[in-house]
Symmetry: C2
DNA sequence: TGCCATAATAATGTATACATTATGACACTA
DNA sequence: TAGTGTCATAATGTATACATTATTATGGCA
């Protein structure tokens, strides 16, 4: 294995899966397009086994769709799917918020992990780096899910966040929402810190639906 | 490969994954227990590659938890996790219901697939076979999700349904709810057929929460 | 010219073999 | 005896090689 040293000790299939999502987010792999194992192998200079395992991860997360003996294809997400994604996301984040608030009452220090995410968010905005910003935004929410420590929410969030990253990256006028993003996240932290469950649930709904670049869910 | 002929043309990692879930549901693998690749290999008489790919599928679905270089462990689900699962499930099934109703207005025949699931449910009850019943129950809901044809809902449902199967199988007094189960499902079909979105969304909530064997979500 | 059968190619699917890492036993030492 | 270091074992992680399946190109035939 001749992988770059910084990845030596990381989980290889997981890393490959992350990389494939980045390729999709960057537009190097387009929705509907077929993904070839060999192609990914050569890009990352690894054998087919970890790549195939990454494919299974992404398949279970809905990022790619696998047809037996016929290859894998990047899932296509229309505005309707984005709306669904956000609808489920809100529920997941609400449940997670309740858990984190309950846990933080016993140990307020756990919220520090969330606060630290704000630094990354500010840094990304200073660098005016879309990808860095999207990842920092998602890291904020991922941290909360992790703190909720739920074996149910975790995999669902991982699945959702894949799609959200791709969606955010292709969103026009993303930069215009930087200011609002900061204040939204600050407010979310404050609600967690004060233990205002109801307030947090309402605010998460607003925060997620704020862009409303996607169409509302059909009746 | 010396697998039984009936599985020759099925997706092997998928089949292995299903089998592992059955082992958990049957109690042959207990929550928290470590799952060895070799053990599964010998049980199903396949090599490690499809087994490892099945592990990745189940890992992304939250059925097992993998620790790098240290193996995989069956996820433990307490009553709190069951409650979360059902809370997310309701949202997923509500969204799916809306889609199916919309689609069925253009082609009412698609609901026949759901109606056919009732036969399997009746048969399972006649046979008084718990596993067959649980699978038929889940097949009913899986069919609706499939009809909704959503690349977002599908993987989330697959993840949820794994846990639901395990939960149902370990549920005492499951047999007592057979009658109610039939009437519930009949009612759900009727609501889909009449295109009553609101009614369906309410009924799904009742149906899922009916057992209430799990504790309510914490405040 | 259009259609079908067949072979060549290239992909996915699986098995075997090797490399690396964790774990437990055991002896050695303080 | 408690602690520690080393080695043996067994698991996971990865690479290579082979098998199977799908696709495409090609050539024969109507």
């Amino acid at each position: 294995m001749s992988l770059a040293p910084q990845f030596q000790h990381r989980n290889l299939p997981q890393h490959v899966a992350d990389h494939i999502v980045l390729l999709i987010a960057a537009g190097e792999l387009t929705p509907g397009e077929r993904v070839f194992e060999k192609d990914i192998c050569e890009r990352l200079n690894v054998s087919r086994i970890p790549v195939r395992e990454a494919f299974r991860l992404l398949q279970a997360q809905g990022v790619i769709r696998g047809e037996p003996n016929r290859g894998s294809f990047v899932t296509e997400l229309g505005s309707e799917q984005i709306a669904e994604m956000m609808e489920v996301r809100i529920v997941v984040e609400r449940i997670a918020g309740r858990h984190v608030i309950r846990r933080s009452k016993g140990d307020p220090a756990i919220l520090d992990a969330v606060r630290r995410c704000m630094d990354a968010l500010h840094r990304a905005i200073r660098n005016n780096d879309r990808l860095e910003y999207c990842q920092a935004d998602l890291a904020f929410h991922s941290t909360i899910i992790e703190l909720a420590d739920s074996p149910i929410l975790q995999p669902i969030w991982e699945s959702l966040s894949r799609g959200i990253l791709v969606y955010l990256m292709q969103e026009r006028r993303l930069e215009e929402s930087y200011d609002r993003s900061i204040s939204d996240h600050e407010r979310l932290i404050a609600l967690l810190a004060t233990g205002d469950s109801k307030g947090y649930e309402a605010e998460i709904g607003r925060h997620v639906m704020a862009p409303a670049h996607f169409e509302a869910a059909p009746l």
